[in-house]
């Protein structure tokens, strides 16, 4: 499980979809019985088509290697099947990948096209390149997100044998999962509302188990703060990109200025333009690295925390039902009517609760371990990359200053 997570962490961090990362070799117990990856992706107008490729030694599957094409809605369908199933109530269900969103990039590209007349050819080219790179990065990220989701499922001992998962991986036709129609969306909305109302009611429900009580307090607070941190990190990285992009216009103006100057001044100004262009590229890299290592990590764990909260909610629900059943038993015994029935029901719920409690404890411990490993790795990567880029900039600037001082 952990191994698979590490691998997918790399992919998440890398965002390039590259599979080879020898230095990140995972643990000894590599489980190759079910390997899932997204081998290809196609962006078509509004839709992205993912090619889900599976390699397996499990007998449950018809073939040992195969691939199908899936769209985002089908991933969401799969997630919902897990989330709604009572069988997996005690498991932290891997969060569904976010919907591919190219609107922002597309809008920017369009605006650029409209403003083409007002800028020089070089400036236009540079900005176009930047936007295309942004588009590509968004694309790679969405592929990585979808892949991580599947890989977590494939590595989970219980979730991987689910029938719906098998269908998802194997069934060649479209799953016929249309997007929710209005009625379903509305009912989904109400379910969520009632869930949160329930959560409030249940928050008054004291969990006799200290572990879970503590986890509940922690996760609720943690979720709020990580959500805030994710938003702020996003804004910071965006500002950083804006700063980098502002150098484009400055370099363009400097080059124009240089062309009408006498030789000495021309050299100076051109040197500045060239240096700022390089600075820009570095700042752009910093912004995208921060996005990957910092914002994306925070974002992923925000979602995972939400999934963990859902687990707690399910447990509390079950606990409430169990306590209600206990009362029914008491009443039945008092009236001496339907006692057996009540006791059976009570017994069932007791077993369910025990099973869920055990699984949940393990899942929550795993969640914490996963979180810590992931954060550690990305913090280290972040710090190393920041250092690398800062050193590169110092070098670049030092050379430029020396060159300028030597000019006349």
């Amino acid at each position: 499980m952990m191994d698979g997570m590490d691998e997918s962490n790399d992919l998440l961090a890398d965002g390039s979809g590259s599979k080879e990362k020898p230095e990140e070799t995972v643990d000894l117990s590599t489980d190759t019985t079910l390997l899932v990856d997204i081998s290809d992706a196609l962006s078509e107008k509004d839709k992205v088509k993912f090619t889900v490729h599976t390699k397996t030694t499990l007998p449950a599957f018809r073939q040992s290697e195969f691939a199908v094409v899936r769209q985002h809605e089908e991933f969401v369908w799969l997630h919902d099947r897990f989330e709604e199933s009572e069988e997996y109530a005690g498991i932290v269900i891997p969060p569904a990948p976010p919907k591919p969103d190219f609107d922002a990039s597309r809008e920017k590209l369009q605006k650029l096209g409209e403003g083409e007349g007002t800028m020089t050819k070089e400036e236009f080219q540079k900005m176009k390149q930047e936007l295309e790179a942004e588009y590509l990065a968004t694309f790679k990220k969405t592929v990585a997100m979808h892949e991580v989701f599947l890989q977590r499922l494939a590595n989970h001992p219980v979730l991987r044998i689910d029938i719906n998962f098998k269908i998802f991986l194997e069934y060649e036709q479209e799953l016929g999962v249309r997007g929710k129609n209005n009625k379903e969306r509305l009912s989904g909305f109400f379910t969520r509302v009632s869930q949160s109302v329930d959560e409030v009611l249940l928050s008054n429900q004291k969990d006799k188990d200290d572990f879970f009580e503590g986890q509940k307090t922690f996760l609720v607070e943690y979720f709020n703060r990580i959500k805030d941190a994710t938003g702020k990190a996003d804004r910071m990285t965006k500002s950083h990109k804006n700063v980098a992009d502002s150098y484009i216009k400055i370099s363009t103006c400097l080059v124009q200025l240089a062309t009408s100057e006498n030789t000495e001044l021309e050299k100076l100004v051109n040197k500045l333009a060239e240096t700022l262009e390089r600075v820009r590229k570095l700042e752009g890299r910093i912004a995208s690295d921060e996005d990957l290592k910092l914002s994306d990590t925070l974002r992923y764990y925000m979602r995972d925390t939400s999934a963990a909260k859902n687990l707690l909610y399910r447990r509390l629900r079950l606990l409430a039902n169990f306590e209600a059943a206990s009362k029914v038993v008491e009443k039945a015994r008092a009236k001496n009517k339907d006692v057996q029935q009540a006791e059976d029901a009570h017994q069932q719920l007791a077993e369910k609760l025990d099973r869920l409690t055990d699984t949940a404890k393990q899942e929550l411990t795993d969640f914490k371990a996963r979180r810590i490993t992931h954060f550690r790795k990305n913090m280290v990567d972040l710090a190393e990359l920041e250092l690398k880029h800062a050193k590169a900039q110092v070098q670049l600037l030092r050379n430029a200053i020396t060159a300028l001082k030597e000019m006349s």
Partner: protein, 525 residues
């Protein structure tokens, strides 16, 4: 440098073929050179009426005699040029060697240029002046409140009474100084650095704010701008010894209020109208060189003008395009400043968020690292603010100053056009007077001829004067532009290197922060 002959003894008689001795020539006296070589030209090529020669030589004699007392002359040049004595190093001027071709090239004569540069550099090395504007203080309350700035000067220029002085000045004093400098120096063809802009918003901030904080940023920007203005004036060899400038720096106590500088005064409005009128004038009046009625004495000048004319046209176009490009550059730098300030703010917000997250995190070492990340980002916030300031002061304000200077260059070009127009107008009037006289002669109105002759003499004198002024300003502008270009190269170089150094320093600081953070991250259990 050529030897300096003593002033008074000029033996240029009419018909003299001797080359004029290398006298104490200043640019202003160059027409002497022209007239004498003109004379020799004519001697070589054609015979004209003696009287014309006489007129010219009469002029020459007149010029020289006016300048005979050496002391006065050198002092006046010291005042205007700040130089002990300026000598035009001319190759031996023989009648034959001086051709019309070399005349127009005078301003571009390489030898002359070098001596120019040498003189100026010597000048720069001889005296030094350091000015700083500090310690802004709010004086008064409410609507009458204003900021007073301490101006500290250290110098060894002899025109100043002391070598160190300290005075308090308010913003309108600076504007008043600029106005006086413009009055005295613009028509002499000097580029006068513009003062910082008036700002109604800033003025309101100062008057209305109860405490210092809300106007601090504006006051700091203004203080820096005022300092740059004074330093720019001080760098100019002619302006640095101007008595108004000297008074500004050393006169204790308040200067008389420059009331005409306020934005809403009657004088201000009048200035606005004049500006508009001028611009209209600029658009419609073009220097037309094809006037056929030029007299002989104007032919030489025509030749000179046509060479200069091209030079000036070219320069004007260069200045125009420089103006446009600098303005674009300035606007793009302003965007950078805004974006960087936003980045600083967002970094600070993230730092708070990360700290909050860290305090809730249950795993102790991760919690500690998150707190440290928050600290690092907080420091980076300040770094970004620092860098935004560098972006602003080293680049943005620098480019803006140059946009202002370019406007001053355009102003001086415009002044030249005005003087040209005045000269041509005077010439036209002179022609009319002469025609009137001819008509009088034809109609035998002998009694009126006397006064007509008087008027003609008067106008001839006026034409001479306006011609001189025009030539003087042309020469001065050429010199000023050269100085301007040299200064510009130095300034740009300094600013570019300074900016890159600021970027580098900030990156080095970043390295320190991340280097302390990295081992902590690795220590997460």
């Amino acid at each position: 440098m050529a030897t300096v002959g003593s002033g008074g003894d000029c033996s240029i008689g009419s018909g003299g073929r001797d080359p004029p001795p290398p006298l104490l020539f200043d640019e202003e006296n160059e027409e002497d050179m022209f007239s004498s070589s003109h004379e020799s030209l004519k001697v070589n090529q054609m015979d004209h009426g003696e009287e014309k020669d006489d007129d010219i030589f009469a002029e020459a004699k007149e010029e020289l005699s006016l300048d005979s007392p050496e002391n006065d002359w050198s002092q006046s040049t010291a005042k205007t040029e700040g130089l002990p004595q300026k000598v035009a190093v001319l190759p031996s001027v023989t009648a034959a060697s001086v051709t019309s071709q070399s005349l127009p090239k005078q301003p571009k004569n390489g030898v002359k240029d070098i001596s120019d540069d040498l003189d100026e550099e010597e000048e720069a090395n001889k005296y030094s002046i350091e000015i700083s504007v500090t310690d802004p203080k709010k004086i008064g309350d409410g609507m009458n409140a204003y900021m007073a700035y301490k101006v500290i000067t250290k110098t060894n220029i002899p025109d100043f009474r002391n070598s160190e002085m300290e005075v308090y000045r308010r913003f309108s004093d600076f504007l008043g100084l600029h106005e006086k400098l413009v009055e005295k120096h613009l028509h002499q063809g000097r580029i006068i650095p513009p003062p910082p802009e008036k700002s109604v918003i800033g003025m309101t901030k100062i008057k209305m704010s109860k405490e210092e904080s809300s106007s601090t940023e504006f006051v700091e920007q203004r203080r820096a701008a005022l300092e740059r203005f004074l330093c720019c004036v001080a760098k100019h060899p002619a302006l640095q010894t101007d008595p108004s400038f000297v008074d500004f720096l050393e006169l204790e106590g308040d200067l008389p209020r420059a009331t005409s500088t306020s934005a809403l005064s009657g004088a201000g409005v009048l200035r606005l109208f004049n500006r508009v009128g001028d611009s209209l004038g600029k658009m419609t009046y073009k220097m037309d060189e094809s006037d056929q009625n030029l007299s002989w004495s104007c032919v030489i000048y025509y030749l000179q003008c046509s060479e200069d004319y091209e030079w000036f046209e070219e320069k004007q176009q260069q200045v125009e395009s420089l103006d446009i490009q600098l303005k674009k550059l300035h606007s793009s730098i302003e965007t950078l400043v805004i974006n960087r300030k936003e980045l600083a703010q967002n970094t600070g917000l993230f730092a708070n968020s990360a700290a909050a997250l860290g305090s809730v995190e249950e795993h102790t070492s991760l919690s500690r690292v998150l707190s440290q990340l928050a600290e690092v980002e907080d420091k980076i916030d300040l770094l970004h603010v620092n860098q935004a300031d560098s972006d602003y002061y080293i680049l943005s304000e620098f480019v803006k100053d140059y946009v202002g200077l370019i406007q001053a260059v355009k102003d001086v070009f415009h002044e030249r056009v005005k003087l040209y127009k005045a000269w041509k107008d005077d010439e036209a009037t002179l022609t009319k007077k002469r025609e009137a006289k001819v008509r009088l002669e034809l109609t035998h109105k002998a009694d009126k001829i006397g006064s007509a002759n008087q008027e003609i003499a008067e106008w001839e004198h006026r034409v001479e004067k306006s011609q001189e002024e025009f030539q003087a300003i042309s020469k001065s502008i050429i010199k000023e532009l050269k100085r301007f270009e040299r200064q510009r190269l130095k300034d740009f170089r300094r600013a570019i290197i300074s900016y890159l150094e600021s970027l580098m320093e900030n990156q080095q600081q970043l390295i320190k922060y991340w280097e302390t953070f990295l081992p902590e991250t690795k220590a997460i259990a």
